[in-house]
Amino acid sequence: MSRLTRRGLLGTTAVLGVGLVAAPHVLRAQTRPKVVVIGGGAGGATVAKYVARDSKGAIEVALVEPKETYTTCFYSNLYLAGWRSLESITHRYVNLVEKYGVIHYRDMAVDVDTGKKVVRLASGRELPYDKLVVAPGIDFRFDTIEGYDEAASMDMPHAYQAGEQTALLRTQLEAMEDGGTVVIAPPPNPYRCPPGPYERTSLIANYLKKTKPKSKILVCDSKDKFSKQALFQDAWQRYYDGMIEWIPGELGGRVVKVDTKAMTVTLEGGDVIKASVANIIPAQKAGWIAHRAGLANDSGWCPIDPDSMASTVAQDVYVLGDASIASKMPKSGFAANSQAKVVAMDIRHQLLGDKRFPARYRNTCWSSVADNDAVKVGASYKAGETQIEVVDKFISQVDEPPEVRAQTRAEADAWYDSITQDMFA
């Protein structure tokens, strides 16, 4: 029984008795096939773990991620509310390395030669690959709001890449006086976590109501509608009545200019708002390295094959998570984790001949709106001819009883624990 390894169960190339000797990858044991993963976020960490774990050492997995720890954007709004500590949403790569044998290069990928199949790191080291997974998440389009660049984000944090930025926003909220104005500027589509800015609005309101109840939140939007809108607006009215004002794009809500010295935000409609705290979330694109590698198209995101997440631009390269164009799938941690499992399976199939099954994808996004109240939206997906297609979907209802909402809130916590274990444990 102990000889029935995970590989044996998963693959058709059972690693058992004679099968072991006959397996081609074992004969090539000296030169194990190499997988390089760029980015150790929701997508990259999952794919690195799954390939290493399920290939039982038959594939060498290198994870290129400069950071020692990963703070999840998911649940960072709960930290802003004061519900969670930053430590509780920060994870380490130690299990990936020690349990599954992933090699963690704490380095930045600075170039990719998809012809020669080599990744170059900032240190100058070169990593050759048989398969490359590119999962760098997002970068910001800093040219879309006058006065808003990386330096400005130190005064007006986007807090849309978790860690320092999130801590900065929390510090500013704590320092703010009662009666102040918080400006939240959600980005135009497509962007990471469609309900994210609105969950954030709810949870900052939750914090302010408890500590600085005379304060106001102005949501200055570039869009005219948003994810789970009816659910959020219902919650805002029920829990934070009069505290939140949403200005849609059609009423001139889009932020066109910021002045970090004066702490003012100028809207397309002409209003100049003096902010106590300004959370400016600019338009987004695939992480820089994906562009450098030539994987992105004019949209700024990377086209993929819906059945495998393989790049449609370069051979032997996969793009997953926020950087990819997963059509109907939103850019979420859940989606990145789901896509990573399809990629891991495809890689083992290609490199080891392991069995391949049809791609299946799923997403669920919980959003907390108040202490005992959360809502959810989700869908099942499959690979269509040219894009990932929705099979089935659901969304919370506005008139649900409090017990259902409390259960949804509890589910979100259980999900967070499970998915972060799925990625990092």
Partner: protein, 109 residues
């Protein structure tokens, strides 16, 4: 039957034979393992104080019946209804076979 399946069927034999519940036919535990990767986004590997249980702990019949009840709407959670609706009988049987195997690995009954 692939070699891997044959081996698993032998080693996890008792549980696989126990599959004569609401879903008939044999599950492929290798397929089940792939499908189960979807479940681990929400279901934890071990017992926790959270509201989502680890799946390998559930008795096979109970597991299958629960999924059927989500499919028919008798069990109401929309998250699990969507999960269950995406599973056919073959998928459910394969998942059941895989979790039964896992239960055995973990020294359960």
């Amino acid at each position: 039957m692939t070699r891997a399946r044959a081996i698993v069927a032998t080693l996890a034999g008792v549980s696989l034979l126990g599959l004569a519940g609401p879903v008939r036919g044999e599950g492929d535990p290798a397929y089940g393992e792939y499908l189960a990767n979807e479940c681990t986004a929400c279901h934890p590997p071990d017992v926790t104080d959270g509201v989502i249980p680890p799946l390998w702990m559930l008795p096979t019949d109970y597991f299958i019946e629960a999924l059927k009840a989500y499919q028919t709407g008798e069990r109401e959670n929309p998250v699990m209804q969507a999960v269950a609706r995406a599973l056919g009988d073959e998928e459910i049987a394969s998942l059941a076979a895989y979790f039964a195997y896992l239960r055995e690995q973990k020294g359960g009954s």
